[in-house]
């Protein structure tokens, strides 16, 4: 490490681009899911540019697709995204700047941007990594959403035959995976899955996902304080 305020930024840009490329299939899958839920291209792009939070978008669209209400869809999406609160707290110290800068930068507070940012050592690099990761994902996420709606969504049967419908649970599993190495997280994850599936026949669409949050009340030592 040298005394310059920041390191060579090429590796950070590479991280940002690879994570953005990795979310592209997920963006395509979101476009397909949106199309299958009956959304038009403007609504799908509204989700990807304004909401801009993968898991919340998927949750909300799956609630809408099952005939759930807007309120249920918002509740499911927002609860799922409580973690961006924690990311924001973790990154607040490096995201200093004018009110406008912070207000704009905050829109990028998603898993991938936070991960690239928090992975860097120096504060200036954290800020750079967060912004690079966030912008790269924002652009590719929106492009892939549009591609999913326009080019893949029109082929519903092909999608099912090509197994693209299985990319959604696989992507959720991939997001969940790193947490499963921790015993406590494994317990509450299994509890949440059980609560959700068990309540499907009795709760209105979308609410089983929200009910799964009750699994945090399961007894056991809380990890990663």
């Amino acid at each position: 490490m040298t005394d310059v305020p920041h390191s060579d930024r090429k590796p950070i840009v590479r991280q940002a681009l690879s994570i953005a490329l990795a979310v592209m299939p997920f963006g395509l899958a979101f476009g397909i899911a949106a199309r299958e839920a009956g959304l038009n291209i403007f609504e799908a792009m509204g989700f990807s540019s304004l909401v801009f939070t993968g898991s919340a978008q998927f949750a909300a669209v799956s609630v809408l697709s099952d005939g759930g209400s807007a309120v249920t869809a918002v509740l499911a999406g927002a609860l799922l995204n409580l973690r961006s609160l924690a990311f924001g707290v973790a990154l607040a110290p490096v995201l200093k700047g004018s009110r406008w800068f912070r207000a704009t930068a905050a829109q990028l507070m998603i898993d991938e941007a936070a991960a690239v940012g928090m992975a860097q050592e120096k504060p200036a690099d954290r800020r750079y990594g967060y912004l690079a990761g966030g912008l790269a994902v924002f652009v590719l996420w929106n492009l892939s959403t549009a591609a999913g709606v326009l080019f893949l969504g029109a082929m519903g049967d092909v999608v099912v035959q090509a197994g693209i419908d299985a990319t959604i649970p696989a992507a959720f599993l991939a997001l969940l995976w790193p947490r499963l190495s921790d015993a406590r997280q494994r317990t509450i994850a299994l509890g949440g899955a059980a609560i959700a599936l068990g309540s499907v026949p009795v709760l209105p669409p979308g609410l089983p996902i929200v009910a799964a949050g009750l699994a945090v009340a399961l007894p056991g030592r809380r990890s990663r304080r």
Binding site: F47, A59, S84, V160, P169, A174, A189
Partner: protein, 102 residues
């Protein structure tokens, strides 16, 4: 306004509030009450697991068992082998397609 746009606008407000709380409200290195931090840390696991379960084992709000299970299993193997996110997702699609073709 369509149900989709109502959802988009309300969800944008809700997620943006969560995203912006840190950068806009917390000036220095103050931290959240520990109970809230723990909740934010623990909620994603059960909620994501619920999404996995619901998107694999249900269709139109009813229990279903189909080839998506094969895809999920294949993705789990790929992730267990430490293959990247993209590979796991592609593996799931391929495995599901193969299961349906057989």
């Amino acid at each position: 306004m369509s149900r989709a746009w109502v959802t988009i606008l309300l969800l944008t407000a809700a997620t943006y509030a969560l995203k912006a709380f840190g950068p806009m409200v917390l000036g220095g290195d103050r931290s959240l009450p520990s109970r809230l931090t723990r909740l934010a840390d623990e909620l994603p696991a059960p909620l994501l697991a619920a999404l996995v379960a619901i998107s694999t084992f249900t269709s139109d709000a009813a229990w279903t068992l189909d080839a998506r299970v094969i895809g999920l299993g294949a993705a789990a193997v790929a992730l267990w082998k430490r293959l990247p996110f993209v590979v796991a997702v592609i593996v799931a699609a391929v495995a599901t397609a193969l299961a349906r073709a057989i």
